[in-house]
Subunit: 326 residues, 4 copies
């Protein structure tokens, strides 16, 4: 399967590695407005570089992976819809819910496979929790708690174009909650601060706690933060009628030092490249399975739209100080 | 120091053990409307039984411990204030905030030592977390998460007289949050359900998630539940600018079984008698230190009033579905 | 049940606390050549002091607890045998195997209850492992590994009278191995060093690894050391055909600090008073049950003799550098 | 760097993956007497197949990796020495110590880079322990304990050609001990059984505990077993004057299930392919660094000879029941 990768930045490189380590996938071509980046990545895997127009006219390409900046996502997805080719796109679809909705409409009308990059669903740990929940290991879930702290804030440039904490970071957790519970929220309440002055200066927040009442009755609590001294903090806790399932953090190594100061383990794995390395590979495998079999992927554009709707409501709650109904 | 214990029930027996195992404390007498219970407990420790009136007229008694039902707390505290003797009283002061306020006024005017039974402050694990927070081990706290699940619901009779989840159970967590952060909330938002039909039938809830914005800026998240198959679940997590402190659960034992089903540790200690055994002893020591030295205890009637105010606001939030300002 | 305590030192005080916290036991009297120590301990519990002769003539005393120095154990046990009263004696019976054997003979002829203070058998964690082994949780045990490190070396005065590492410290582990496996060794091999120069100067060792072939086929490995910076290290690992059971260390508290240096738990509980506090209580309860019911205790003088025999063989192996048959 | 892989079996495939995922390595050719296996593996990576003779005459090949059966190792290493090309060979060099010594002599005379496949040295967890030991994190090491249990016994065919437990399995631990401590043993004592009847039938053992006195004074204890129901058990514990370092097991996932049966984590990662996946990659990187820079690798043929000598002494100890001096 010949894949064209659009976007040769950090996340593009991650997808390139996933393609290279998969038996059935082949990196056909790389597209990036910054030609030097495109060439560097393409050379490493004996792929070619193409302009955007060339890519969508190329008959050899079986599928597209979009890893370019957020503002280009909706347009590129629609181009894939137009040429009728499967597309995997990083989240979010767009910072505007309206634009995402029109894009989703185009996808639906075309009938193409369109998978969204909610990578955590493909993390082996998260997937194991989900499958155990589905297998009724803890009965019906009454409370779901998701904790997510990045190790350090992104650049202010990144923050400026990110759409803010809810659209950029917590959107993963909104999707996780809906996925794990097979449900969607009826209301959301947000409490949030900016402890980092630069982030405050951008009108964004970096520390937030959120409660969602889900339609089927469960209560979801999400905690997010942009800076954790001990590494990437990615935990999930599902509390059900007969037990509790938790995903614990992954540590840098399994070495323990005991001395007069106490008993010390390593920090958490630093960030998403380490923590979700396998997830990036697994989501590629799922994408390829999906368009090879013609079955829609387990996470598609409607999931992206739902997560955006929740993120919009979260922003509204923060502004109003009140609970928002969805 | 001769102590009179009012209330010979389950929690009274716990206090009797704490008194017996302390070098300086002596169980002088036991008071209970149910004379047989009073006698049984008194005999075990070579103490006498007294009627309520006799107790407050007895000159030998140095201090009172009130472990009778909640509805008697405020009256008994006021009697101690009247005779000018130190009193330790189980929480809450009263189910009515107004009654608690008038009681607090009487205590303040009398100048007696009046300590409230927020036992978790005296748990060695919680106390260690608090002292590390105070020693700046994690910098300023940005987020505090308290998780508390009982192993099983109390009797419906108990529920009926309990004042509901917020006054009976989460009141401990409200106090913990204010204590750990040296702060009080400016607003509170509650999401809650009754997963147990009998509890629902009483108009109470058993599963709740709460967010409080604290005045100094921290965000507090509290999760409560009345039933956990894996035992008493008592965790605290303080997330600060330079690190995170957690109190983990105490397990029944340290034995680990590894086999083809996985790696299995024991359940959590079953309930508060096991989990907070040392806390009951430590709080007695603090009470005695306090009235022997004449210094007010670290937790007094004003803490009880504050926790009640928060619990009232929590009930209001649940009814209205909105955030409530305090 | 009126108990006379012989020996008012550190371990005597531990037994006094166990007696005081037991419903059925009463500390009748304290005997110590150092009269001041005897009086101090007796006064704390409203007991009397007696001379040795008075104690063995006193008709009120139901049982004796011997917590005096090792050199007095065998004589005192024999005196109990002579007056026909139950006795609990700290390990070892004597530093000389011959003396222990003659003492054991006297005990057997008298028919008295004679319990040896192998306290670890009564530790809840060790007892849980033992009961799970007996319940076939891991099938037949193929390998048993016992790790024991003291937090710090005892005084050189103590070392001088201790009989050396094998008689003083590892004797507990010899007993544990025989108890857990219901077996005894057919051979033993020792490798040992003195890393502490003062201990080397006394002709003793402080660091040892031992392998025993047990008669029923299991292999036992024991590691001992006199100094661990991270507190009292007391672990057991039983590896069987269908799984593994481990007793993990007990920590000072359940608080975890995560920061840029890693994830830090507390040290181990410091030493035996903390780690085996419950064991001291449980062994007293078992002793009282035993002499009240007339049933021999689960650990008696023959266990003490067996452990001594193994310790003697260990010393022989160290000297010869070879495996010793038992 | 063009690499020729000799041996297209299970371990050969692992090396092929390591080569494929490395930027600088290229799988040039595959050699296997079983031509079909060679072709299958070669095709997957666009490599060619060669006969043994062709391989050693081929000028394009920069280095050899030997992953064929043990009996071919020494001959193939010597062929590499003859053609003066770098070689990485799986352990052991040979089942005969004499043959290994003559092979080592040929390597030394040729001056080629010859690296032995003691993969555990390249495991990130083991390497972290080693580097912390070297950085004096625990002072001088007094005791080293290595525990290694395979999840299940190999086929009896494998056992027959393996050289037995000490040459096949514990040889890794002998190398680890010498590596971590920068030392070699002065004596070794072995206790061992065959709990598996088929293995006993082959005259081999499957359960062993070993003590080695190291020349610089440390005591090494090794426990090995061929079957662990809970997965691959790979632990190391270094106990030093100021602390203890442990490598804990790697689990299948980070999910924890708490319910009325206790608190359950996943089993250990199943076997060496999972547990040492990164080690296989890291050792390849080290091999390539080594022959590119011309510096001898950190683990070379003399380490293989030393481990063989220890394994021979272990077999002798088992036969004699005594400690063997080295």
């Amino acid at each position: 399967m010949k894949i064209c990768l659009i976007g040769a930045g950090r996340i593009g490189a991650v997808h390139a590695i996933a393609i290279a380590s998969d038996e059935n996938a082949n990196l056909h071509s790389v597209v990036d407005f910054h030609q030097e980046s495109a060439e560097k990545l393409a050379n490493k895997y004996n792929a070619i570089t193409l302009s955007m127009d060339e890519a969508f006219e190329n008959n050899e390409i079986d599928a597209f992976i979009i890893a370019s900046s957020t503002s280009t996502h909706a347009d590129l997805i629609e181009k894939c819809a137009k040429v009728g080719k499967p597309v995997f796109c990083e989240k979010p679809i767009d910072l505007s819910l309206d634009r995402a909705l029109s894009c989703a409409k185009a996808v639906e009308e075309s009938g193409i496979v369109c998978m969204l990059g909610f990578n955590r669903r493909f993390d082996p740990h998260m997937a194991s929790l989900k499958s155990q929940v589905d297998a009724n290991a803890i009965g019906s879930v009454q409370s779901l708690v998701i904790t997510s702290h990045d190790p350090e804030p992104p650049s202010m440039e990144y923050i400026a174009g990110s759409g803010g904490l809810f659209l950029d970071m917590m959107i993963h957790d909104f999707d996780m909650a809906c996925w794990i519970l097979d449900d969607s929220p009826s209301s959301i309440y947000v409490a949030a601060n900016a402890v980092n002055d630069a982030i405050a200066g951008q009108g964004d927040v970096d520390t937030a706690s959120v409660i969602m009442n889900m339609k089927k009755g469960a209560i979801v609590t999400i905690m997010n933060g942009r800076q954790a001294s001990f590494g990437y903090d990615q935990r999930v806790e599902a509390f059900g009628e007969t037990g509790m399932l938790q995903v614990k953090n992954a540590l840098e190594d399994n070495v323990v030092l005991s001395n007069s100061s106490g008993i010390r383990q390593a920090k958490n794995q630093h960030f998403f490249l380490e923590r979700y390395g396998k997830a990036f590979h697994n989501e590629l495998v799922h994408f390829m399975d999906s368009f090879q079999s013609g079955v829609q992927p387990s996470v598609n554009i409607s999931d992206g739209v739902l997560a955006l709707k929740i993120a919009e409501a979260a922003k509204e709650s923060l502004l109003s100080g009140n609970s928002i109904n969805l």
